[in-house]
Amino acid sequence: MSQTHEMKLEIDAKQPRLADAGSAADFISLMKPRVMSLVVFTALIGLIMAPVSLHPVVAVSAVILIAIGAGAAAALNMWYDADIDAVMTRTKTRPVPAGRIDREEALIFGLWLSGLSVLSMAVLINYTSAALLAFTIFFYAVIYTILLKRRTAQNIVIGGAAGAFPPVIGWVAATGSFSIEPLLFFLIIFIWTPPHFWALALVKNEDYSAANIPMLPVTRGVDATVRQIMLYTVLLAGTVMLPYILGFAGILYGVGASVASAIFVGLSILLIASSREQRDRIASMLFGYSIFYLFIVFALLPADRLMALST
């Protein structure tokens, strides 16, 4: 080894790594707290709607562990996607591409949280929910992030399954088994995911092109994407009615979900009819509304149950 190289190694060893500059807030943002809030909410609904009531302490623990699992998957996603995150304006300020946390540290953080959440779920809640949580993390980090995201325009269609699992985990945490109801929750989020992300992809089309991610607007163009959004919102409008049709939810849910879906479909029609100048604004509106829509549909389920109990 040359003397210069030895000297450089010595200097490097004395310098704190750039990663040491990462604050607690950076580590929290590594867990994508906004995505986590939707995960927590849908998992909570899965728990509440289950026919078995858990002790509040156990229920809160289950939701916290699901949230940690979601955070772990997000950290692993940020570890793998650091290169493309650095190219996109929406993501370049994230802790890894911005250089506040290094990739290795994000990976270790993600792996630790994965192990912690899954093992704690197994010990404190039940093995089935722990296995499901482990599979969800694996699906998001490996199937979606590593295998699908950069390869196919169907990335978000298949990958959407990862985001659809939390209410199922919530249900299984309470009951220890599967049934038709959590599968309906799964289906609703699964079909909701493509129009939600494609609306975002329309607005951030240049970003995705620059990062070479084959999102639908990049590979098939804007017109094909808005048609697909329309198709999925119509399909979603039918799917959200299944809990009502199958008698799992009552009239409050049926009416509320219908109105919410009508607005969603209306916005997608508006998107198809929009001019090139208006398209970004309407796509942005559709993206925002899709979040509100999912919140409303899932909030209506316990509200409807509460109404049925009080009458």
Binding site: D20, S23, F27, H55, V58, S120, L124
Partner: protein
Amino acid sequence: MVGEKDTQADPNGWTPDLLKQRRRRALVMALALAALVSMFFLVTIVRLGENVVNRAL
């Protein structure tokens, strides 16, 4: 001032700002660990409580 902070850095390159950041991070980690331990304790008590009530006499 960046220049002043650099001059206060210790031989290992830790500036006061970085040290403060690290202390804050360690504190958050300690709190998170305490919360986790409390969660394990509480769930154990709840589960134990159920089992104590339901045990065969």
